[in-house]
Symmetry: C2
Subunit: 317 residues, 2 copies
């Protein structure tokens, strides 16, 4: 079993990465407060480098390596925000990043990874093909594999967002984050509960990919059954590591429908004029649907990212 | 001839409206700096109330009235940001706002004005029909007409955005704003030149609606010929008042193509994750097209607003 990061690990991560990351702003909106009956504080990781919180974990791992160890480079398989985050962190460190991506990935994602200097290796789009090509790359180059969430260093990095949020707003009653593989919610919950045990920590998940919800309710990690959700960042399932952290540090996991996610995303675009991706809209949907029964509370929400295909928005038929 | 506002008028406006408006943030982006070869500071009026700088001028005029004068209400004809701005300012003041709108205005705009408590009077979509219905409303109610740009109080209010920007960044070399009717550029140029005469002030205009450019170059106000531009906030022409202010206080007016506007708008959405309307992208397009020949300068840009039809984005065919 991999080790569970502590608050001190998160503080060390913050120390390590703070000159590389953006300290993202916290946004509020009277209209969102009125709509939800609470005071909402959005920690805007859509303004983070590469447009997502993933850069925190990636840079924490990449900059934690000793020079000699680091120089062989890093590798991962991902077609999403994690791939871009690893590519940029490696570029800043001056080491190679090998990114295994399905050959049918959208052009825009290939360009983004290449734009950050990532060396792309294409594979078929199955998980086994990804893992096979990744193993080949690692054997060939000696690069170090950095998983996208099942890793203590990644989790500690993701926890720095909540650490900053609680520095700016120490009086929050509730902190919410979306949950997919659980890296963000793990880091969020460790930060929150160890800075202030009275904070309520809530995970928000699409009903269409509800393995974390079922795992949390049953007390035993459940496999994902369907992942047909617009929230493309949340189609993965918990690992043993993230499940054990979340089960211990989270107060509840709440699910929402696809319609609620789309409607929440559109509300934020229209009223707040910021671009958030569908995954980021999941906790907002929980609040707008009144699925968390609290009133007049100060609620922090981690806005996970803003990477969206601008050719095809979810409210367009 | 209407009187030209002074810096003192802008300071008074700021004093008057600061408890009603948002002090909007200034955003920067390394990617935008790299792309343009300068350091760009975006004054984000897309985050202003009603999603546009127009709320500054509207609230300045509405809150400048004596109580007895104010209580008969205010009136304007507009289907855009000015209508929403007047409706909200009047609501905050507790007086009626009569908004004359073409009956074929998009549903979303009617709803927005009604949502801020505006009393809508419909008219045919010609300018003469608008003015006729406006006169009827005024005669009937005694309400005071507030023009959308041809007014010293409106201009003084719009100038407060640059006043704040120069408080936050006193060392700017250049300040840019889009120009349509010229209310924003007038206020911008008065603020900039009177706070610091060394600041270069640039207006940015769509080539497809280039009356300000032709007026500026010829030294005489020219009528608008075409206004077939995606930048729907800039389809109007200068008034005698705004032309005289801009001619005196602006260093140049630069035009850009529709393609450049759309491409700049998309760049800001994709890289900065903020929603800006096409009019706001016009100065960005000037910078990205290298049409202003400066390098390594500190350039402030007034981002006019973020009200966009999210069903139909300009890069979609």
């Amino acid at each position: 079993m991999k080790s569970i990061p502590t608050l001190q690990d998160i503080k060390n991560a913050h120390q390590r990465i703070q000159k590389y990351i953006h300290r993202t702003p916290v946004f509020t909106s009277q209209q969102l407060n009125n709509e939800t009956g609470n005071q909402i504080y959005l920690k805007c990781e859509n303004f983070q480098k590469v447009g997502a919180f993933k850069f925190r974990g990636a840079s924490n791992v990449v900059f934690s390596f000793e020079d000699e160890f680091a120089e062989r480079g890093v590798a991962t398989h991902s077609s999403g925000n994690h791939a871009q985050a690893i590519a940029l962190a490696a570029k800043m460190r001056g080491i190679p990043a090998y990114i295994v991506m399905p050959e049918n990935s959208p052009q825009v994602k290939k360009k983004a990874v290449a734009g950050y200097g990532g060396i792309i290796r294409y594979c078929k789009s199955t998980l086994s093909a990804r893992e096979e090509v990744l193993q080949e790359v690692i054997q060939e180059t000696g690069a170090h594999y950095i998983p996208s969430y099942d890793d203590p260093g990644i989790i500690a990095g993701q926890g720095t967002a909540t650490f900053e949020l609680l520095q700016d707003h120490p009086d929050l009653d509730v902190i919410m984050a979306p949950v997919g593989g659980g890296g963000l919610l793990s880091g969020t919950s460790i930060s929150a509960k160890n800075v202030n045990p009275d904070v309520t920590v809530i995970g928000a998940e699409p009903a269409n990919a509800d393995d974390a919800y079922r795992s949390f309710k049953s007390g035993k990690r459940q496999p994902i059954k369907t992942n047909d959700t617009i929230a493309d960042g949340l189609r993965t399932e918990l690992s043993d590591l993230t499940f054990s952290i979340i089960y211990k540090n989270t107060d509840d996991i709440i699910t929402v429908s696809e319609e609620a996610i789309i409607s929440a995303m559109r509300f934020i675009w229209e009223r707040m004029k910021i671009i958030i991706e569908p995954s980021s809209a999941v906790p907002i949907a929980v609040l707008m649907e009144q699925k968390l029964s609290v009133e007049n509370k100060k609620i922090g929400v981690i806005i996970s990212g803003g990477n969206v295909d601008l050719e095809k928005l979810p409210w367009m038929s």
